[in-house]
């Protein structure tokens, strides 16, 4: 099941590359191509790790860390 999901992620990454890359190659947009490939690699890595059931770092935890002091301060203001 996880392997199938992982293969699905790889396949979708390939499809995405097939959709975008020909246009980028034709227009010789180097910077766009670099950004696109980097973003696609990050996306594939994250989705692939998700498909293989690795525990990814939780982005909401960052929010919790940043805003906990603010929240505590706000609570101390209330009677």
């Amino acid at each position: 099941m996880t392997v199938a999901a992982f293969l699905g992620v790889i396949a979708s990454a390939a499809i995405i590359a097939a959709i975008e890359l020909p246009m980028l190659l034709r227009n010789r947009q180097k910077k766009e191509m670099v950004v696109f490939i980097l973003a696609l690699l990050v996306g594939t890595a994250l989705s692939g790790a998700q498909a293989l059931r690795f525990t990814l770092p939780n982005p909401l935890e960052l929010l919790v860390i940043v805003y906990t002091p603010v929240y505590e301060w706000f609570k101390s203001l209330l009677p």
Binding site: S12, A13, I16, I19, E20, M23, L24, Q29, K31, E32, V35, F36, A39, L40, V42, G43, T44, L46, S47, A49, Q50, T55, L56, P57, N58, P59, L60, L63, V64, Y67, T68, V70, Y71, F74, L78, P79
Partner: protein, 367 residues
């Protein structure tokens, strides 16, 4: 810079209304009511007043830079380094918003409508529609809003009219039983979710074909959206009563389930689900524009469309990683999300306006 098409200020107003109602119609009532109880409609009146002021600041900022997005004028205002950092933070904020919408649509569908479907499947399909909309351009999305807006209004009126027989006016009493504090606490959420999250319109603003100020369309849209939320909150309290609204995470959904006409017309909650899909679709689509277009501007790319598919992949993976369960998510949006919203929806526009005034004065000062 690249264009994403032109939309009229009428379409802009409709998008603002739909975005103000956005996810708040389903998420906010329960959260705000848990503080303010039966006085939640007073909270909404407070939030509407303060919220319109916040939207006013955004409109002032949009009017100062009619041809640029906040990602671009952050650099003009704060210098290249600090401005780029602020732009990046703004993009991360847009990302957080999209993650939250994905989690919400997954949560609602799998708890209320399709309990056996995996959340990831729901989110994937929703994201696919968003990507399609964003790749087709803002004009297409704006025209879609024109198409769906009458339906939204019609179904909303339908819902309210058929709930009228179930009203129990006692539910509003006692008014202000515990003083103003819980009411004000409840209003914080109702300021943050609908109004502070209109920030994405600063990125859309340069594509509005306009004569003069954006103040009027933005304020009109936010006001009408706020009134819709006020009516929803009032009806929730009047029909369900505060206890039930607090108990159910998606209380508006249970509100729609209450409709029963002569034991014949039943289970009309699908109407509410449709309304909610419409509003959260536009909110997510606009935020997805904002993140793609903003990233393209931040990196000075010529085309934002190449970013849509990879970004969709990243955001989908992160939204799955964000939420071990919906209770955890609910806890985060109750305790921390309003601060996040105020940081970007209120403090950032104020800081930018202040910086603009400062630069203006320094330039006009002699020497």
């Amino acid at each position: 810079m690249q264009t994403i098409g032109q939309i009229s200020s009428r379409q802009f107003t409709m998008l603002v209304i739909l975005t103000t109602v956005g996810d708040s119609i389903l998420i906010a009532p329960s959260i705000a009511t848990s503080d303010a109880k039966q006085d939640v409609w007073i909270s909404m009146c407070i939030s509407l007043t303060v919220g319109l002021a916040m939207v006013g600041f955004m409109a002032m900022l949009a009017d100062k830079f009619p041809r640029q997005s906040p990602i671009e004028y952050a650099r003009t205002l704060f210098g290249t380094t600090l401005g780029s950092l602020i732009g990046l933070m703004l993009l991360i904020y847009f990302g957080y918003e999209i993650i939250s919408f994905l989690v919400e649509i997954g949560g609602v569908l799998t708890t209320q409508i399709m309990p056996e479907t995996p959340v990831a499947a729901v989110e994937l399909i929703f994201m696919a529609v968003i990507v399609l909309a964003v790749r087709l351009g803002l004009e297409t999305t704006a025209r879609t809003s024109e198409l769906l807006f009458p339906w939204f209004v019609g179904l909303f009126s339908f819902l309210i009219i058929f709930l009228l027989p179930d009203i129990q006016a006692d539910n509003l009493l006692p008014i202000l039983a515990e003083g103003w504090q819980p009411v004000v606490e409840g209003s914080v959420f109702l300021m943050a979710y609908p109004f502070a999250e209109l920030l994405c319109f600063l990125v859309i603003a340069p594509s509005v074909a306009r004569q003069g100020s954006l103040m009027k369309p933005l304020l009109t849209g936010a006001f009408i959206g706020g009134m819709i939320l006020l009516i929803i909150l009032l009806m929730s309290i009047l029909v369900l009563g505060p206890t039930l609204v607090v108990m159910k995470i998606f209380s508006t959904y249970n509100l729609a389930q209450k409709i029963s006409i002569g034991d014949f017309l039943e289970r009309l909650e699908a109407i509410l689900a449709f309304m909610w899909f419409v509003t959260i679709f536009f909110k997510t689509a606009l935020y997805f524009y904002a993140i793609n277009l903003g990233a393209a501007q931040w990196l000075k790319l010529k085309n934002y469309r190449v970013l849509t598919l990879p970004f969709a992949m990243i955001l989908l993976a992160l939204s799955r990683a964000s939420v071990p369960n919906f209770i955890y998510y609910n806890d985060v949006i109750v305790r921390f999300w309003p601060f996040l919203d105020f940081t970007f929806g209120l403090l950032l526009p104020l800081a930018m306006l202040g910086m603009y005034a400062l630069r203006r004065r320094r330039r006009s000062a002699p020497g």
